[in-house]
């Protein structure tokens, strides 16, 4: 489904990704762990096509298409979703309005008609309930005055409504209390499907207790230095990253 080969990327002239290779099959859940500054978030933004993130070498193929040549929104239309680590606020634009515009655009891209207001509301209410957000959040400005945890759950709600093919979750678990963490995990688990893949960027093994990954990768110095199954996460929890970095060096 997703094939990344020898990816090099830089931000503001600084090389961050230095030859990253990763293949994600349909329906798989990949966890990406690694020390701070290793390029985890950069990977998410490069996949999503954030302006200012320059790919200097390598290829990214998603559903058989070269996504590096696509605009940000075109990648989204193709089914790439990024749950932001720090979602921005858009004052005055209600969450509802934003979601409706987004869902309608995605549907249009898939050759579907826009949802009527009633059906959309029904879906939005269900998504709210699933991530344990009050309905009131639909009326509020996008992320406006939301707490950190609420912003993360709002990202999850968007993912549920947009039904992406590939969801990259950038430290969605950071800063969440244990209840919220379970809500996020449950949300991801219910979304797991044969034609939908996940890349979970996380610092903590904790999340993986609730979402069982098919693969765990360690990203260090802009490359994947070790891959394994979920036991790798436990090993990291115990030993930290230093031993791997030493090994690589």
């Amino acid at each position: 489904m997703l094939k990344i080969e020898n990816l090099h990327a830089s931000v503001e002239g600084k090389d961050i990704l230095k030859g990253l290779t990763l293949t994600v099959g349909a329906g798989e859940v990949h966890a990406i762990m690694g020390p701070n500054g290793s390029g985890k978030s950069t990977l998410g933004h490069v996949l999503a096509g954030r302006p200012g993130y320059t790919v200097t070498a390598g290829t990214v193929e998603f559903l058989g298409q070269n996504v590096l040549e696509m605009e940000t929104e075109e990648r989204a239309h193709l089914g790439i979703f990024l749950a932001f680590q720090y979602p921005v606020e858009i004052p005055g634009v209600s969450n509802m309005e934003f979601l409706k515009a987004s869902v309608d655009t995605m549907r249009e891209q898939r050759g579907l008609t826009p949802l009527d207001a009633v059906s959309f509301m029904k879906q939005a209410r269900e998504a709210c309930a699933a991530v344990d957000l009050e309905l009131d959040f639909l009326k509020r400005g996008v992320n406006e005055g939301f707490s950190g945890g609420e912003k993360k759950r709002n990202e999850l709600m968007q993912m549920m409504l947009l039904e992406p093919r590939l969801a990259v979750m950038d430290e969605t678990d950071s800063g969440l209390d244990i209840d919220a963490l379970q809500v996020v995990a449950q949300g991801v688990n219910t979304m797991r499907a044969a034609d939908r893949s996940f890349i979970l960027v996380t610092h903590y093994q904790r999340l993986l207790e609730y979402i069982e990954p098919d693969f765990v990768h360690v990203l260090a110095g802009g490359r994947i230095v070790r891959s394994g199954d979920k036991t790798l996460a436990l090993e990291l929890e115990e030993k930290g990253y230093a031993w791997l970095e030493d090994e690589v060096a």
Binding site: A48, G49, R50, P51, G52, E71, T72, E73, A76, H77, F81, L82, F84, P87, V88, I90, P91, G92, V93, S94, E97, F98, A101, S102, T105, M106, Q109, G141, V142, Q158, L162
Partner: protein, 479 residues
Amino acid sequence: MSQETIDKAIDKEYAAGFVSDIESETLPPGLDEDVVRFISAKKGEPEWMLEWRLEAYRTWREMEEPEWAHVHYPEIDFDEVSYYSSPKSMEDGPKSLDEVDPELLATYEKLGIPLHEQEMLAGVAVDAVFDSVSVATTFRSKLAEAGVIFCPISEAVHEYPELIKKYMGSVVPRRDNYYAALNSAVFSDGSFVFIPKGVRCPMELSTYFRINEAKTGQFERTLIIAEEGSHVSYLEGCTAPMRDENQLHAAVVELVAMDDAEIKYSTVQNWYPGDAEGRGGIYNFVTKRGVAHRNAKISWTQVETGSAVTWKYPSCILRGDNSVGEFYSVALTNNLQQADTGTKMIHLGKNTRSTIISKGISAGKSSNAYRGLVRMSPKAQGARNYTQCDSLLIGDRCAAHTFPYIESRNPSAVIEHEATTSKVSDDQLYLCQQRGLDAEKAVSMIVNGFCKEVFKELPMEFAVEAGKLLEVSLEGSVG
């Protein structure tokens, strides 16, 4: 987001920029007493009206063009402007819509303002002013049943001389300012509204102003009188063809709200703004003011997207106790447009209240200034003002300025001023694009969200229009 994306998203064609092929009688450029006499004679005005104009003209001659506004433009040669232009077919004056030149009707049709009553928005009466004359006023008989007068001001001079004598110039005196004096000398047409005591005007009233002829100025004058306990909602819209030279528009609007009356005045201003290089466009120098008597309310709502240069401060004189003044404004500038706009709230009566919500949006290389005065007089016991002044910047080559003036001479008065400046950020656009929206749609959504508080003050039918207008005006601002 790069500047290029911004540019792409706000760059759109001016849709009302066509020229109508209508034979006109246009006065040669230049202004002297004879021109004033000509205009007055053309309208068949009584002697007192001519005298009034001539006095205004003499006052104007002695005045200096104001330079304090934060706008820059080449000096205007007032002798290069033609002060009167009228479609030839209007010579004898049409008796009804059936006699109006079809080309004229087509012009308004093209602007989305059908003048045939059966095709119109239900519940909206329209006065159409083309260059210097009013060409049609709809629904007049229906309004007359309610006792409401809605007619061209040139007609009101003949039909209701007592009202004109009493009120014209009572809110905006002739010597008020340079452009008001000029307008008083050469005003050609505009709308007159009179709502009798206790009457709630049964429909929205609106005037559409259209400048068609080249090198002409438009100097319309609007006077609205709401008698005790009456209520009226009025909307004006403005467009002009695309031309390379600048054209002058200097209007005066006077509102009189007697005790317990309410006037709601909305403007959607879309004069031709000039091209991307700043060629052409309308100079919009307008004086708008209302006086509110006891318990009366005057509410100004404006959506300003057009004109090369805008200089405009719809104001309220809160004369009566408990009177209320409101000003809701969205001013958008793009390319090389300049706007210096805001309001004046003059609190004279006790417990008077005013609210100012101003939203300035700057894109391209434009400059957008809010200028507002809140004055609490010594007698304005318990008066209150709340001002919120927000600026939104799109791209990094535009400017936003805020010039608030606050004068309080009453210790019991309360004045609040809040201001914010924000920028459509790359991160906001990235979020929207990641969710599948293109940059243009994203900017338009963000800007509409920013303006929501003002749009909700517009009459229903026009709120949607205003949103669309903003979208068009913003095109190419994202890149």
